[in-house]
Symmetry: C2
Subunit: 226 residues, 2 copies
DNA sequence: GGCGTCCTCCTACTCGGGTAGGAGGCGGCG
DNA sequence: CGCCGCCTCCTACCCGAGTAGGAGGACGCC
């Protein structure tokens, strides 16, 4: 019996890469691809895959919500999450959503193949680098705060965060969003508090390390004055 | 006559993606792959490709030096550089190294195919987003300074830059390197001047966008106080 | 209606970051 | 030797960033 795989990733290049990688395996078959979360949910229902390779960041619906919806249908599908960085905060949320494993996109191919087989067999696994962080997280969590977790940023705060991550000053952010810079400051204070960061520099680091905002790569340009 | 392509990229997934993409084209054939710069140089000599798809950031030897070496052999190969971001400062260096074109990795596939054919035909091209920056750069360059280009950072400045890129404050950098924070400030002023940046936030953005310091990913941890 | 959330804007303050300019020590190189 | 580049450190100054705390309007929900 072959392992039926659904590949859900918004980058066609990555999908093609997986398809090629898995094509060489006797016991694995790619039965469908999805380029966003909604499509993933739909195709999971239609093709009944054994394993869904799920990117976290996708348009329409992200990998987390897609994971929840697929599992909510009672399907037997196992979800294997693909993350780009081991720092990805979503990992903890995905754990709660019921994912069976996490693999880093730049892990060696053999590791990925192994992961698919393990997950298909009903076991769970984490990439070593992720495991380290998860453990650290849980040991830290069990002491001071109750359950906690990361607070959610509002829409507007995300707008501001996006611009911070591109190196904008408060004044520039204000111009871009048509709000005063005191308002910008207010948003930033909230962002830093919610994410437990010291200043905007750390916010930029976090944004890149977790791969936030990779969607708007097209518009990504640092401001340069003439 | 088919266009012979060498794919040089350190991510196997990306290579596989290109192979798959190009497999569908009648006039294009992937004759070899390379996972680092040295391999690219060697295989370019061995397989005599029409076009080399070259990633900039690669182990052993980066895409720029590989480009220089391949062109130095007098081969007819055209180099098409792949960049992840339009902000990549290396672009200017690669121009000087003799690359024939630049394509963003997330440009639509048709654009990439077109680019390969154009470059194979002997013309040069830039991705629109890159063109914009190059023009801005050259117009700026032709006025005050002679040829110039990016000044090189010293070893110590790189040390400081690395820590800036991890979100460290000046005081923290000073402790880490055993120097006073006024010295740190001095270095930072020089870094910003040399790279034409406004503040450390832009420096962090630049570091990530150009993939500087990806080597020390293992040690990459944001400072978090207990 | 009343409550809560979000967004907006304000003042006033503190502090870290960045600039300007100078200075001394060290090592390499012509 | 003398010059230069690099690293180190300093003072003095300015300004942007972030904090604290308050306030008002829009909207949705019970």
């Amino acid at each position: 019996m072959t392992i039926r795989v659904l590949v859900a990733d918004d980058q066609s290049m990555v999908r093609a890469g997986f398809r090629m990688l898995l094509a060489g395996e006797e016991d694995i078959e790619v039965v469908a691809e999805a380029s966003n979360g909604l499509e993933a949910v739909e195709k999971a229902a239609r093709f009944d895959p054994t394993v869904v390779l799920m990117d976290i960041r996708m348009p329409e619906l992200d990998g987390l919500e897609a994971t929840r919806r697929i599992l909510a249908t009672g399907d037997a599908a196992r979800i294997l999450i693909l993350t780009t960085f081991d720092l990805d905060e979503y990992v903890y949320e995905a754990l709660r959503a019921g994912a069976s494993g996490f693999v880093l996109k730049d892990d060696p191919p053999e590791q990925l193949l192994g992961a698919i087989r393990i997950v298909a067999g009903g076991d769970a696994l984490l990439s070593p680098a992720i495991t380290k962080r998860v453990i650290k997280r849980f040991t830290r969590m069990s002491q001071p705060e109750p359950p906690s977790g990361l607070e959610e940023l509002t829409e507007r705060e995300l707008d501001v965060f996006r611009l911070i991550a591109r190196g904008f000053s408060n004044a520039e952010i204000g111009q871009e969003l048509y709000i005063s810079d005191t308002t910008v400051k207010t948003h930033i204070t909230h962002i830093l508090q919610k994410l437990d960061l010291r200043d905007r520099v750390q916010a930029v680091v976090l944004a890149y390390e977790t791969g936030l905002f990779e969607e708007d790569a097209g518009a990504r340009t640092m401001r340069v004055e003439p």
